[in-house]
Structure formats: C-alpha cells, structure tokens
Symmetry: C2
Subunit: 346 residues, 2 copies
C-alpha cells in the first residue's frame, strides 16, 4: 500500500492556509509575504514534498519530455547519439524517454503510440530497417508535435533532419585508398533500398570516376555485417585476386574482411588496404588499427535535439524545415598505412 504522497493540499492544511497560497509561495510569487513563504518552504522541505509532474503537465499541457525512437541501443553509434541528446536536453530542463524499435516496424508503431499518449513535446526518430509505412509518424505531425529524424530519415515526411554525408564520406574513403596506390578497389556495400547503401556506393563511384579508375561491377559485393564478411570475403578475394583495396560500408564488415584477408596469408595494408565507416571503438582495438570514416554520433545527437528544442520553443515559427548534414572526416590509421613499416601485422 503506497504511502500518501505529500501534496500542496497537505501543506495547506497543516499551515491552515489555502492551496493557492502554498502554490504561490513555492514558486516565490511576489504577492506572498516572506513569512508565509519561509513557513511553506520549510515545511515542504521537512515533508520532502515533490511536485507532482503529472498534475503539472496535465495542467500546462506540456510535459517537458522528449521521446526518442531508435533501432537498437546496443549499437555504439546510437548510444552515442543518445548521450548527445541527453546532455543538452537536461541542460534545458527536458526529460528524455528512449524507446527501442529493435528494427521492428510493429514495435516502432507501439513506441510511437506510447509517446503520443504520454504527450511528449517532441520526438527524435531514427527509422527501423523494416519500416515501409510511415503513418505512425504522421500522427505526431498531425498533432503538431515536432519531429526531427536523424541518421535513418523518413523521406516522405517534411521535418527537420540530421544526416551524415554518406556520399562525401564514402568519397573520402575511396579517394584515400586511391591516394595510397590502390587501383582495384572493392566495395562491400549495404542493400540499395537503404539510404546509407545508396549514398556510400555513390561516393565510391564518384571517387573512381574522378580519378579515372575504371568501374568494375564485379568489385561491388553485397556484404554489410561481420557474419556476411566472414562468409564471403575469402571466396570474393579468390575470384578477384587483383583487388588491392576494400572500402566497406561499416566498421565491423571492414574488420571481419580484414581478418579473413589475414587468414589467407595476405597483408593488410600492403596487399590489400581496408577502410571502414563509422569509427566505433573497435577500430582501435583491431590489428592493424582500422582506417575509417568518422560518423559523429554524439554530435548528431546534439544537432538533432537542438533543432527539436528550437521547434518546440518557437511554435509560431513559420513552417520551414532544415536538414543538417554532418560531413564526416577520414581517419587514416594502420589499415591503409603503407609507408610505416612498423605497423604490426600477421
């Protein structure tokens, strides 16, 4: 049986004053006498009074809560984004509720409904891979609850967005491979129905074109996970013995590819140089350390929440939506370092 939560009513009764006086005293309203104020505040402290956020929010029709829907919290990238979001949200007095879709459309719909029911002031969303219909997101915009999409955006809904310049990052990665002498560069790519798959392939192709390296469709392998890379790399390299560089769509694919290459007795970077995408913590742990494209999760979180809070607090603003594009940097490490002979290798 839950003990009675102490309310302003209790304080009022004990002090023999009205609830409105208590309410005002608590908010330091100028009309209230110093005596009353101190009486109220002391008692409140003594009784460990905590304002009931539910009642407050109901009254104000504002929850100071922002909802986040992400695919999976266990991915380093997404947990970094959350850290960015929380850091500024807390500073501005907002709470953050994080929901995971687990890459499931159904769960995403449920998450959206829960956030809607809880009347969050705004939402930050990175769309699940399995989501093809976006009406559950439209419910937010219909209620004029602002959305900011980040990383995995929804192209159909007009809102603010924060994305990584995948094409540019992929260009940098490929350009880097070319600059160290690679001429037969493979791309381990993600499915083309995903925007990152498209963007990173496009950047790869643009770099080839710009440096007049002939494009060979055989060098594009659909392979975007550690498991896939373990399964496919060796056969791929055997059938394409001339490959001297690989740009993989993400770090774990790149690392697995690298490890399979090493298993074949080849040297990274001297025989085949490898570049990933993401710059997760594993890039530093693997040997040789992985060159990669920096995907700034924390910064993405910051930008997304800033856009959202701006929308929330300037509701009258004209409907204008911006897309922030984070341009990633190339981080060159040992897996593409063909000069320094000291780099450890199998």
């Amino acid at each position: 049986m839950k003990s009675h939560q102490i309310t302003i009513k209790d304080i009022a009764k004990i002090l023999g004053i009205s609830v409105s006086t208590v309410s005002r005293a608590l908010k330091n309203h100028p009309d209230i006498s110093e005596t009353t104020k101190s009486q109220v505040n002391e008692l409140a402290k003594k009784l460990k009074y905590e304002p009931n956020a539910l009642a407050l929010n109901l009254r104000r029709n504002k929850t100071n809560t922002i909802g986040v829907i992400i695919p999976e919290i266990v991915h380093h990238f997404f947990s970094s984004v959350i850290s960015g979001i929380e850091d500024v949200a807390y500073d501005q007095g907002y709470n953050v509720v994080v929901c995971q879709s687990n890459e499931s459309y159904e769960r995403e719909v449920i998450n959206a409904q829960a956030l809607l029911s809880n009347r969050v002031d705004g939402v930050l969303i990175s769309v699940s891979k399995t989501t093809l219909d976006f009406n559950h997101f439209r419910n937010f915009t219909n209620q004029e609850i602002p959305i900011v999409f980040f990383d995995r955006i929804c192209p159909e809904i007009m809102t603010d967005r924060v994305i990584t310049n995948d094409e540019g990052g992929a260009f940098l990665a490929t350009e880097h491979l070319i600059s160290i002498g690679c001429r037969k560069i493979a791309h381990f790519s993600a499915p083309q129905n995903l925007l990152i798959g498209q963007g990173r392939l496009a950047g790869y192709l643009r770099a080839l074109k710009q440096f007049q390296i002939p494009y060979d469709p055989n060098l594009i392998l659909y392979c975007d996970s550690r498991e896939a890379a373990i399964e496919k790399t060796i056969d791929f390299i055997k059938s394409n013995a001339e490959v001297d560089g690989i740009f993989a769509v993400n770090d774990s694919t790149a690392i697995a590819a690298m490890q399979m290459i090493q298993k074949m007795g080849k040297n990274v970077p001297d025989d085949i140089a490898v570049v990933g995408f993401g710059d997760g913590p594993i890039t530093l742990i693997v040997n040789p350390q992985l060159s990669t494209v920096e995907q700034k999760g924390y910064e993405m979180g910051l930008e997304a929440i800033k856009l959202l809070l701006h929308k929330i607090e300037n509701e009258t603003a004209v409907d204008s939506f911006q897309t922030k594009v984070l341009t990633p940097l190339l981080i060159a490490r040992e897996s593409t370092d063909r000069l320094k002979k000291g780099s450890a290798n199998v």
Copy 2:
C-alpha cells in the same frame, strides 16, 4: 500553436452523449449498448483519438512507468541490461525511462528527483562510481516506490538486488589459467573500494590458494582500463618476467594488455595466457580471441525487472528482499588455448 488534442469530451459533444458513456464505450464496458460502442469507437478512430496518459496516470496514481538510472549507456554491458529490461517491461505494459548519471553523483541526484516527480512505479538503479551518499535513493523507499539495484548495488539500502558472482567468475578465470599450466598469474585489478574490485581479487586469491599456488603481491597490478594497460603492461612484464598468465578485471584491460605483450614479441597464449571479464563483442574481434568470463547483461536486466514488477504488483507482500546472483560462465577462447597451434598470432 498546438492543434487541439482530441479528448473524450470532443467525442461526447459530437455524438451528443456524455463523457462517461464515451469513457465506458472506449473500455468496452458491458453496460454500454453495441450501437453506442461502435459509434464511439468509429469516431475515435476517425479522429485519431489517443487517451491522455497524463490524465489517466494522475487519476489512477500509477504511471506504468519504470525508471532506470545507469552510469553510461554507451557501455555494451549497460545497454544490454536495458534491452533485457525493456523486453519484459513492454510485455507487461510498462514504459521505461532511462537516465544516465554519467558516473556523476550530482546528475544521479537530479535523475532520482526527476523520476520521483514523474511518479514512476519503480526504479532500477546501478550506482555511479562517485556516489558515496545514498539519501537520494531513500526518497524512493520513503514513498514506498520499490527499487531494485543491479550490478553496482547500494549496500546500505535494503532492497532487491541482482548481482554477478564476481568472486566466482574470477575464480573460474584463474582456475582456467592454472589448468592450462600457468603458475605465475598476474591480476590486473580494479580499485578495492569498488565491489567488483574486491570480488574479482578475492576469486583470484581463492583459486591460487585452492591450487596451492603461492601468492605474490607483486603480481597484483592496479590497472583497470585500456589506457592504464597500455601504459603499465610493458614495464610490469619486464619487472616480472616470470609471469605466464594474466587475469584482468575487464575485457578492455585484458585486450590492451594482450596487445602490449604481443608488441614485446611475446606470444599469447603460449608465453602469457590472458583472460578478461565481461564478454563484450570486442572479445571476438581481437586476435587471438579473448577468453573471458561471461557477464550476462541481458539476463541481469531480465531478472532485475522481474523482481521489480513483482514488487510493484504485489504491494501487500511482506517486506522481504532477495538478492539474485548470476553465476557467470567461463568462455575459453584462443587467448588461453595452448593446444591448438592453428590459432593466429603475431
């Protein structure tokens, strides 16, 4: 300007019936005629009516929300715990609000207050490293809001707890090193003011004693992070050349130690075998793959939320608190595999 959120009042007005009828129709109350029910439900759907959880929660004095306070979401272990928590919470119709303390006491206090204000039905807490005073947690118990501590528990407060058997895990790790022939086993340990530091050292010592290996205090090195291991390992091994095995307090320390050992031209596992603790994803990526003690984050989340929901839904239960101890398993991989010569090594 937020568009009017549609309420049961709106539905009532449109249909020319009372709000209570609408309320009852929506909950499929037996008293209501089928005609009315379908009218109400259709209109609700058409208008995209969403119940206002705030009002509901205020009324019921129950939020169906559970709060989680963790040190850092970016740690794989903690994000696994959250996944476990969420999976069962959602099944039972609870929402989860995750707060990060960032290992800061002040932030932890703020988080606790926010959860209190939002009248969560219960809390799951893993204590920040910098927390020495626990009164902010007592506010929960004072209000009879159940707490379950997990992993980093608060010894001062009587509640349910879920912990890993650190001592047992450390014993297994050390025993394993002994079983493959190690006789001079170093322990890279965490500060002894942390419970994990104590427990893992104790397990190490018990294994030595049980197998009659003399204890050498010089073989205990305070070193519990990648950075520390990079800095200290080489000197340590130089001054203790006889070391043939290392049990490190966590995986990243173990991996960094392993890499420094390799840098010295020594072989892992043949010269020095290494065992970590945690079984994060990096253990599979490093070469050789790291033997480690499995720390079951997801299971810990499951157990913690189950205990909590039980307390929440059986409020009348006698005050009895249980501590669930998860006994970790040893995962033997290449870093301790001295038989299989095929294991890749520098």
